[in-house]
Symmetry: C2
Subunit: 338 residues, 2 copies
């Protein structure tokens, strides 16, 4: 290995606060994020008064690159989506990197470029960052933490407490794509047709939805734990019973086949680019029709509704005509999926 | 190992989004941080209009517990201090945890208690969090990322661009304590007297200082890279020459001895509870006298001043009467110090 090759791997000194770290930040992070400062602090001059939403997530997905995305894209979309489903317009993000000694600089650049690209697409600015390096064997390539800040505009109030019996439940797309894509890549499996992660930003879809109706009672993006866990959380938060129809839930044939082969239940597999919305019954049909016009949710569908009892319960009406009680994910079906 | 013992270690399923993760959050995180929600999002209802400061940092310190503190205390103080030295009043924080499978629950509780205690002391609320678990051997116990939000009040403007020749440089306490304390603990060294980390929140000291004068041009907490790197950053940012006097810089005998023994330069050793401030020459004496009345800065001192040239340079007047050019930390003197 020549000195030049060595320079292309992350070294401990890239995280020690000194010259090499300043160079790393100046050469790669500042251009990627159009940062105004080398500091880990940023000042926002013109925040408008009102309600702001704040969120954080760490990303430890393994492998770092998978069909349809990578950890960089995931880290920006995850935070954009968490903010969006609270009804907030995402505006600013921070990004903290924990990199393992020896990590290839070319992979870091690829990840930063993914982050830059989706940051530009969504208009969400990455305004502050931090880099730490841990010794070889004490990390796993790279972990990314992002925190996000958004503005919740007047008249928008999204909370499980707003859910009432009669609400219709809308799902924006097919389930299980992200989890199966990552799991296949991790284990060297291939399915026909290939399964791609659905990782993508949901802010424009949410913008479209909140423009059409103020009667969205709650929204969520069903990530870790899958659709089942998200619905159970909403059932608990609202106090009512969430009923869904198995035959209304869109699952791509490749995902269905992979799940059958591997003994996984797609209801519990992670998603990164769909949302579930609980909407006033009178607006649901109109909203689904509008959502179907958007390129990221052509398959939006009403998958169920809210009823009074049994309290805090999720019931699935199966294709066979039975009823199944749906609980949260228990145990670790697919670890390190995001 | 009984089932009960097993339950006392973090498992992969604690991070998978399902039932065990909900229980972990409900049992430990919600009471520690007085969280209003189990979500990773929070809504702030009453943010006042104006300038807000945002910051982020990841903490990978090794070992996790050291004389005078632990990674939990460090993660809150670090973010509180980053905000404080921008002139902001720290208000809210997020916390993201990346935990290695098998990590003792008792250590996690100890860390959460540290965070809770300093969050209460400073009045900075932890409003959103996230937990991920990585497989054994793919992390190092626990890493914590925090992001912080603060308000910058009218009339406060802290930036290297405000520095002018003639400014006096104030250092709030002795240097090198944090770095030497962590390094000693990591390597099983002991020094007489024992060296304790200086990790502590600086928000009340900064509040006292900004109450006394509006003529603080820039402030920084010299963490990774030490006082030397911080002064060099300010010299570059301001464009002027920063001159300091070796005999004015307070170094405790234990730290001095340890540095001599280990061949370390205390100017480059990390601190976590002191700040350096560049202040209008006419207010410096008054400010130092006020700072000395505060329990965390009895040894505050003027250590130098700003001159015109040589541009972007830091010069140290040594005890021997010579002049030494001070550059940024180069290489990794002490990795994983924060």
């Amino acid at each position: 290995m020549t000195m030049d090759d060595k320079a292309e791997l992350i070294q401990l000194s890239h995280g020690s606060g000194g010259r090499l770290m300043h160079k790393l930040i100046k050469d790669y992070f500042v251009p990627a994020f159009d940062l105004k400062t080398l500091n880990d602090s940023a000042v926002i001059d013109n925040i408008s008064p009102g309600r702001i939403a704040v969120t954080t997530d760490s990303y430890v997905v393994s492998p770092l690159f998978f069909p349809g995305g990578d950890i960089g894209l995931l880290s920006v979309c995850g935070t954009v989506n968490d903010l969006s489903v609270t009804g907030a317009r995402p505006l600013y993000m921070t990004a903290g990197f924990i990199i393992e000694e020896g990590f290839p600089m070319s992979d870091l650049i690829r990840i930063l470029n993914s982050m830059k690209s989706v940051s530009n697409e969504t208009g969400v600015r990455i305004i502050a960052g931090d880099t730490k390096v841990v010794d070889r064997g004490k990390g796993d390539g790279i972990f990314i933490n992002t925190a996000g800040i958004g503005i919740i505009e007047e008249g928008i109030d999204i909370s499980p407490a707003n859910v009432v019996p009669g609400d219709k439940i809308i799902l924006s797309g097919s389930i299980g794509n992200h989890g199966i894509s990552v799991m296949a890549e991790r284990n060297g499996l291939s399915f026909e047709p290939q399964i791609f992660s659905d990782v993508r930003p949901l802010n424009s879809l949410v913008g479209l939805m909140t423009d059409k109706t103020k009667k969205i009672h709650v929204m969520r993006d069903p990530t870790r734990g899958g659709l089942a866990t998200t619905l159970k959380e909403i059932a608990i938060g609202s106090g009512y019973c969430v009923t869904i129809e198995e035959n209304a839930i869109n699952i791509k044939p490749g995902v269905r086949g992979a799940c059958e082969l591997l003994g996984l239940d797609p209801l519990y597999v992670a998603n990164e680019g769909i949302l579930v919305a609980f909407v006033d019954r009178n607006d649901a049909e109109m909203l689904v029709n509008e959502m179907r016009k958007d390129k990221i949710s052509p398959d939006a569908a009403i998958i169920g509704e809210v009823v009074e009892t049994p309290k805090q319960t999720v019931l699935l009406k199966t294709n066979a005509g039975g009823i199944r009680i749906i609980d949260m994910l228990s145990g670790d079906q697919l670890p390190r999926i995001c």
